[in-house]
C-alpha cells in the first residue's frame, strides 16, 4: 500500500537468500567430508591447509546467513502490519480485563449493600435506645401546687 514491502515479502526474500547460502554451505561441507574421508585419519599438510580454508569459507557463508537473518528481523519488526497486530491484540485484552473487573465490581456492590443495611440497622437500634431513654418525658408532668 505505502510502497514498502509487506511482512511476507520480506520473509520470502530472506528465505530465498538463506536457501542459496544453505546450498553453498552444504557444498563446502561435502568437500570437507571428502577430504577427511580421503585422508582416513592421516591427512597430509596440504589436505590440512585445504580443510582450514574450506572451513573458513563455510564460516563466511554462515556469517552471511546470520547477517541476512538479523537484518530481516529488524525489517520485520518495523512493518506497519505488526504495529496493527499489537493494537488489535491489546484491544481484545483490554475488553477481557474490563469484563473481569465487572464481576469484581458486582461483588463489591453486594458487599456494600450488606454494609449499608447493617448501618441502617445500627441506626435503628440507636434510635430505639434513645426512644426508650426519653420515653418518660412523654409522661404527664406532675402539676405544681
Amino acid at each position: 500500500m505505502n510502497g514498502r514491502p509487506t511482512y511476507d515479502e520480506i520473509v520470502r526474500k530472506a528465505n530465498t537468500e538463506i536457501a542459496k547460502f544453505e546450498g553453498m554451505i552444504q557444498q563446502a561441507s561435502r568437500e570437507i567430508d571428502a577430504i577427511i574421508a580421503r585422508g582416513a585419519g592421516h591427512l597430509s599438510p596440504d589436505d590440512q591447509a585445504e580443510l582450514k580454508r574450506l572451513n573458513q569459507d563455510r564460516k563466511t557463508l554462515t556469517a552471511s546467513m546470520r547477517r541476512i537473518a538479523l537484518i530481516t528481523l529488524e525489517q520485520l519488526d518495523k512493518t506497519d502490519e505488526l504495529q496493527q497486530l499489537v493494537a488489535s491484540i491489546r484491544a481484545v485484552r483490554a475488553d477481557l480485563e474490563e469484563r473481569r473487573a465487572r464481576i469484581v465490581r458486582f461483588a463489591r456492590t453486594a458487599e456494600d449493600l450488606g454494609k449499608t443495611l447493617e448501618s441502617v440497622s445500627d441506626l435503628a437500634t440507636r434510635i430505639d435506645g434513645i426512644r426508650e431513654d426519653v420515653s418518660h418525658l412523654d409522661d404527664p408532668a406532675p402539676k405544681r401546687g
Binding site: 580443510l51 528481523l73 520485520l76 505488526l82 491484540i89 481484545v92 464481576i103 453486594a110 454494609k115
Partner: protein, 313 residues
C-alpha cells in the same frame, strides 16, 4: 422443614453451577502457562539475536569507520546519547544503534500482550465473587433480622424463616449469573482473538525461526572447527569436543520454533471451539494444549541454552 430442604437444594445447585467453571479451569490455566513460556522463549531468542547484531555492527563499524557517522543527542541537555551505524550503501542493511538490547521489540511486546490475554482468560475463570456476595447477603439479612426484632417478635420469626433460603437462593442466582457472564466473556474474547491470532502466530513463528537460525549458525561454526580439529588430531579430547558440538547442533536442529506458535494457534482454536459448543467438552483442546506444552518446553530449553552460550562468549 420446607425452607431447610429448599436451602439444601439451593446449596447443591450452587455447587453444581461452580462445576461449569472447573471444567475449563485446567485447560485454560495450562494454556495460559504455556503461552507465558512461549513469550519467555521468544524474549530469550530476541536477546541472543540482539547480542549478535551488536557484535555484527561493531565489526562493521571497525571495518568501515565512516559509517559510524550518526550520533543522536550526546549533549549536556539532550535526552540521551546513541551512536549509530549509517545504512550500508551496498546492501539491505539500514544500519542502526551500535548497541542493541532488543532486535524485535514489537514482536516481543505483541507476544507479551498475548500472554497477558491468556492470563486474563485464566483470571476470568478463577474470578469468584460468590463469597463476597454471600457475605453481603448475610450482613443484609442479619440487619433485616435486627430491624424486625425492633418491630416486634412476630416479624423476627417471619424474617428468619425467609432469610436463610433467600440468601442461599440469591447466592445461587449470583453463581449462575457469574458463570454465564464468565462464559460469555471467554467466548467473546476467544472469538475476537481468533480473528488475530492465526496471523500473529504465523508472524511470530517466522521471526522466531530467523532468530533461532542466528544461533544455529554459531553452532554450525563450532561443529566445523571441532570436526577439523579431530581430523587433524584424533585425540580422545578432540573426539569428545567434536561429538559434544554435534550433539548440541542436533538438538538445536530438532527444534523448529514456528511449530510452537502454530501449536499455540491450534490450541487456542480448539479452546475457542470448545467454549462455543453448547455441550462444553475440552477433549480436543486438552490434547492440543498438551502438545503445545511439550513443544514449548523444548523451545524454552534451547532458547535458554542459546542465551547461556551467548552470555559465556
Amino acid at each position: 422443614m420446607t425452607s431447610v430442604r429448599l436451602a439444601a437444594t439451593l446449596i447443591l445447585l450452587t455447587l453444581a453451577a461452580c462445576n461449569v467453571s472447573s471444567d475449563f479451569q485446567e485447560p485454560i490455566a495450562e494454556f495460559s502457562a504455556a503461552t507465558a513460556k512461549a513469550q519467555t522463549a521468544l524474549a530469550d531468542l530476541d536477546s541472543n539475536a540482539a547480542k549478535e547484531i551488536t557484535a555484527l555492527r561493531h565489526a562493521d563499524a571497525i571495518a568501515a569507520p565512516p559509517r559510524v557517522n550518526r550520533v543522536e543527542g550526546c549533549t549536556p541537555q539532550a535526552n540521551g546519547c546513541i551512536v549509530s551505524l549509517a545504512p550500508d550503501p551496498a546492501g539491505d542493511d539500514q544500519g542502526g544503534p551500535l548497541t542493541v538490547s532488543s532486535i524485535i521489540p514489537t514482536h516481543v511486546q505483541a507476544m507479551r500482550e498475548i500472554s497477558l490475554y491468556a492470563k486474563s482468560l485464566d483470571d476470568i475463570v478463577k474470578a469468584d465473587a460468590t463469597g463476597a456476595v454471600k457475605t453481603g447477603l448475610d450482613k443484609a439479612s442479619a440487619a433485616a433480622a435486627e430491624l424486625a426484632s425492633l418491630a416486634g417478635k412476630q416479624y423476627e420469626v417471619a424474617v428468619n424463616a425467609f432469610s436463610v433460603p433467600f440468601n442461599a437462593a440469591a447466592t445461587w442466582v449470583f453463581g449462575e449469573y457469574q458463570e454465564s457472564i464468565k462464559l460469555h466473556a471467554l467466548r467473546e474474547a476467544t472469538r475476537r482473538m481468533q480473528t488475530v491470532l492465526p496471523d500473529a502466530a504465523a508472524k511470530f513463528g517466522q521471526a522466531a525461526d530467523l532468530a533461532h537460525l542466528v544461533a544455529v549458525t554459531r553452532l554450525v561454526d563450532t561443529f566445523g572447527d571441532r570436526q577439523i580439529a579431530f581430523a587433524a588430531d584424533a585425540s580422545p579430547a578432540n573426539l569428545d569436543a567434536y561429538l559434544d558440538a554435534a550433539q548440541r547442533l542436533d538438538v538445536a536442529l530438532q527444534v523448529k520454533p514456528s511449530e510452537v506458535f502454530e501449536q499455540l494457534n491450534l490450541a487456542h482454536h480448539e479452546l475457542a471451539a470448545a467454549l462455543e459448543s453448547d455441550d462444553i467438552t475440552f477433549g480436543e483442546a486438552i490434547l492440543q494444549i498438551d502438545r503445545l506444552v511439550a513443544k514449548v518446553e523444548q523451545l524454552v530449553d534451547i532458547a535458554q541454552d542459546f542465551k547461556k552460550a551467548a552470555a559465556a562468549n
